[in-house]
């Protein structure tokens, strides 16, 4: 039976697709949201609070290989091919996508970051503000020009060793380094009544999935809001395998989905929004070589990459270490590095996410020499006094990083797997070496000692952030060098829009999701305005 034609079909229900669906419904359009995964229920399908020893047997029997019940257990496996320096790629197929397991770090890109974009900070700022209100973002107002303050609920204070790092950073500034040390900002409400979700109770399991749904997810906020408009049709466990074009090949007519029982169906729409996430969106377009007259689909791929340096602070020895849970490990951020200072051996900037304290479910320091009571005492002391510094550097955009299709391997639906090519450039290594020096110096300036450090960055010890990929369909004003225009609309196909971070034309050191949401919201408004004008 022929399906009714919906105004817009949105593919992917993560942060990008969820906000697009909500905004389009709110503006009166009939929307279909298509999601490959099913709905996971917090507290039932994942439950980070449980005692691992007690739950272990049940979980093993159910096929899980980790003792703590984490939403990350549901992430896909064998879903891509990696080429080069150990690329990794996170994908969670579920209503809400990876917002179910994100840490919630919510940072605006600053005016300096938008210098390389075809749109300015001022254009995105109102969407940032709206997104922050909807998401319930908590943080302190720090007054930093390139990490703008937002509309915050009360921030969360630091743990003891993180405060020590702050002292080190103050001394770094005394040595004329451009640097700031701030509390992290998260899309997690710290005050009741601000958003219609539970207030955080500081159990520290955010990335295992928030079982009380306090943390913002696409599944607990925009999608229910879209459903309440009565204009959203939800297609769960439905995977888009093909974009159906009009006979002349100029416009999207709909999509083909494969349902859980293997049956196929065609859905019709006036406009299509792809928000499958950076790698998957590129994969879908490349499969049919759509929207690719520029040859740029899959190119300009970037992410964050990093390494970890750990410091010990004897000053905090003997402190009360009874509850360091907080809102997951990272509470603080070393930022502001190289925003203006150009005296460096590499391109771009980095930030360092910092955490501290005793977290038994994921001990930061899991090894000490020896055995017996002295081993136990050493491990306890190190974990109690440590602070971990995790680099988040912007990966240089170059011809050495891109997505294409695996010529051989296919998924269960017969679609080629995406192939991620990652070869670190010399600039990436130079940045990582700078990070190592900066972290070690900060620890020493704070009166601490370096517990562990890579010492020197190599292509083998750098770790790519598997969840921060952006940029395979970049935004630009020149259709010869970019895939979408400044409204995130395909240059080639007038009723095709992108709602994920694939459109980022450049990437700062900051976490991607708030900007992804702000841009997708903006895209949805522009799309709806076109629909109202009859200009789709």
């Amino acid at each position: 039976m022929a399906q009714a034609v919906l105004d817009v079909l949105v593919v992917g229900s993560g942060p990008g697709g969820g906000i697009a669906a909500y905004s389009l419904c709110q503006q009166g359009l009939q929307v279909g949201l298509i999601e490959a995964g099913k709905r996971l229920v917090p507290g039932r399908d994942y439950n980070g609070h449980g005692s691992p020893h007690k739950d272990w047997e049940k979980r093993l029997a159910a096929g899980f290989k980790t003792p703590v019940s984490k939403v990350t257990d549901y992430q896909e496996k064998d879903h891509f091919t990696g080429v080069g320096d150990n690329p990794r790629h996170g994908l969670l197929k579920a209503l809400g996508g990876r917002s179910l397991c994100w840490a919630g770090h919510t940072l605006r890109f600053g005016p300096g970051d938008f210098a390389q974009w075809p749109i300015r900070y001022e254009e995105v700022a109102p969407y940032y503000a709206r997104a922050e209100r909807l998401m319930g973002v908590s943080g302190f107002r720090d007054g930093l020009w390139n990490l703008p303050d937002g509309e915050f609920l009360p921030g969360v204070p630091l743990r003891c060793s993180e405060k020590m790092l702050g002292k080190g950073v103050a001394k770094l500034r005394g040595k004329h380094r451009e640097a700031a040390f701030v509390s992290i900002r998260k899309a997690i409400p710290t005050k009741s009544g601000a958003v219609p979700r539970a207030t955080c109770h500081f159990c520290g399991h955010c990335m295992a999935g928030c079982e009380v749904d306090s943390k913002y997810t696409s599944a607990n906020t925009p999608i229910p809001m879209a459903l309440r408009t009565g204009r959203l049709s939800l297609f769960l466990q439905s995977t888009v395998t093909r974009i159906v074009m009009t006979n002349d090949g100029h416009r999207v007519q709909g999509v083909e989905i494969v349902k859980a029982d293997g049956s196929r169906e065609e859905l019709r729409c006036r406009a299509l929004v792809l928000a499958c996430s950076t790698v998957e969106t590129a994969r879908l377009l490349l499969t049919q070589n759509l929207a690719n007259s520029s040859g740029q689909v899959g190119r300009n791929l970037t992410s964050h990459f990093g390494l970890t340096v750990i410091g010990l602070f004897p000053q905090v020895r003997g402190r009360d270490a009874s509850n360091d849970d907080g809102w997951d490990y990272y509470h603080s951020l070393l930022t502001g590095l190289y925003w203006k200072d150009k005296a460096k051996q590499f391109e771009g900037t980095y930030q360092v996410q910092c955490g501290a304290g005793v977290h038994p479910k994921k001990l930061a320091i899991k090894w000490a020499p020896g055995y017996g009571e002295s081993l136990k005492a050493q491990l306890k002391d190190w974990n109690t006094t440590h602070a971990g510094m995790n680099m988040q550097g912007m990966l240089l955009i170059s011809k050495n990083k891109y997505v294409d299709l695996d010529p051989v391997k296919r998924d269960a639906n017969g679609i080629p797997l995406p192939r991620i090519h990652l070869h670190y450039d010399d600039s990436d290594l130079a940045m990582a070496n700078d990070v190592i020096q900066t972290c070690e110096e900060t620890i020493r300036l704070a009166g601490g000692t370096v517990h562990s450090s890579p010492g020197k960055a190599t292509r083998d010890n750098l770790v790519i952030d598997s969840n921060h990929w952006v940029g395979t369909a970049r935004m630009g004003t020149d259709r010869r060098t970019s895939v979408v225009d400044t409204e995130c609309r395909s240059h080639d196909i007038p009723n095709l829009f992108l709602g994920d971070a694939s459109v980022f034309p450049a990437y700062p050191e900051k976490n991607p999701t708030l900007t992804n949401i702000a841009l997708s919201w903006r895209m949805a408004e522009k799309l709806a305005a076109r629909a109202r004008r009859g200009d789709l």
């Binding site: 020893h53 204070p157 630091l158 405060k163 509850n323 360091d324 038994p360 899991k366 055995y371 009571e373």
Partner: protein
């Protein structure tokens, strides 16, 4: 007053539930408990080997490596100082096993209620109205 039958029933109720080893044999399990207790005192009371054995039975870790290590330990009870000294450059089966058992035991012990409370002094995993952060001043 409890009669004898009641007393037996109550004792059975109070006793820790018996665990039948699944990946290792009963003898291997007992030897592993003894070995791990020497590495991490308190591990036995925290039922660390039960946890490790369950994992092994479901493909978390390599049962054969445990069995080889335990066989080597059964042949020669090398003192712990000696094994610990060779941990970073193990040459024998038993030296390798020391590192393997130690890593698994640390993980399992930290995940147990006993390890969290008695070893690490952790009192978290509770509902807080607000997170106090560090309330002490340090140099």
């Amino acid at each position: 007053m409890l009669d004898r039958r009641d007393f037996i029933a109550l004792s059975a109720l109070l006793a820790a539930p018996a665990y039948a080893a699944r990946a290792l044999t009963e003898a291997e399990f007992a030897a592993a408990e003894e070995f791990v207790e020497l590495i991490l005192p308190g591990a036995k009371a925290a039922r660390v080997m039960r946890y490790i054995d369950l994992g092994l039975a479901h493909g978390v870790g390599e049962t054969a490596a445990w069995q080889r290590g335990l066989a080597a330990w059964a042949k020669q009870k090398v003192p712990m100082e000696q094994l610990a000294a060779k941990e970073l450059s193990p040459a024998t089966e038993l030296e390798r096993f020391f590192g393997l058992a130690k890593r698994a035991a640390i993980d399992a012990y930290a995940l147990s209620d006993e390890g969290q409370k008695e070893w690490l002094g952790y009192r978290g995993g509770v509902h807080l109205e607000s997170f106090p952060g560090c309330t002490e001043e340090h140099g």
